[in-house]
Symmetry: C2
Subunit: 165 residues, 2 copies
């Protein structure tokens, strides 16, 4: 069995979270996490370019072999959903350019994989991310924790095992 | 007064139309137009990457100095709107990467600039694109004509003149 390196990404125009883990079967270890922030007073295209450039740098540095994202669903805030979709397009293109396969997971599936319940709230997911990765503190900001949750879901889904406490 | 080269783009996951014109004041001349098609049986990321790569090639070949797009509005078909938004994100990022300023125009504004009425239908817009650019036939497919219409709108808006028959 070989170690797989997985990047989870939570795309957004203002904040794109990323989290990288190494997995051996369903054993996981944190490699890195962070957030790509783009200031709202910058031009739209400049912000999307910053996401692309900084994600490229992260992929170059950590060389993940697989990637995971939450499936996009339509929020009530249509204009923010559009920004998220545009950022997601850039992220998806960048992953394809680096020949990193992408799997997408439904929000309920991520909650279930990480916490064991489909209706867990955000803070419960973050707590479980901390426990599962043996971290001393919960990963901040939320976008990084959500990205790590997607990466963890990918490991558990593709290792063919459920998480057991 | 210098000739400006403008690219209009009509982004979409399956079809991204583009149209390039040269403008001297409000005098315009067709340079090229076409459509970037991506097959629906290909992976999502591969399709977005194809849009990026082929748009890059178009920008390298024709070197437009300015760009124009129609503002995205939400169609009834939410899933196709998401694909359009993702493609638009990739296109917008690619333009920023090539340092080509982008202006966006509302659908009614494009119709008005090109036809003189805000409620013109698609085929009227295409007819006027043909007339304004002195073409022998209407540009096909629709996506290319819509891209040219955005480019024409940009010329008339920024040359500070309305089109007069």
């Amino acid at each position: 069995m070989e170690v797989r390196r997985i990047i989870g990404i939570d795309p957004g125009l203002a904040h794109t979270g990323f989290g990288i883990i190494d997995a051996l079967g369903n054993k996981i270890k944190l490699v890195s996490y962070g957030v790509i922030e783009t200031p709202s007073d910058e031009e739209h295209g400049t912000r999307l370019l910053a996401i692309y450039n900084r994600l490229q740098a992260v992929l170059m540095e950590f060389k993940p072999q697989q990637s995971a994202m939450e499936e996009l669903f339509f929020a009530k805030n249509v204009s923010s959903a559009l920004g998220v979709a545009e950022a997601k397009g850039v992220v998806t293109m960048c992953l394809a350019q680096n020949v990193i396969p992408l799997c997408q997971y439904k929000p309920a599936q991520i909650k279930y994989s990480v916490t064991g319940t489909r209706s867990a709230d955000k803070s419960t997911v973050q707590q479980y991310v901390k426990i599962l990765l043996n971290l001393e503190v919960e990963p901040k900001p939320d976008h990084a924790a959500d990205a790590l949750a997607a990466a963890i879901t990918h490991v558990f889904s593709t290792a063919g095992m459920d998480y057991e406490i």
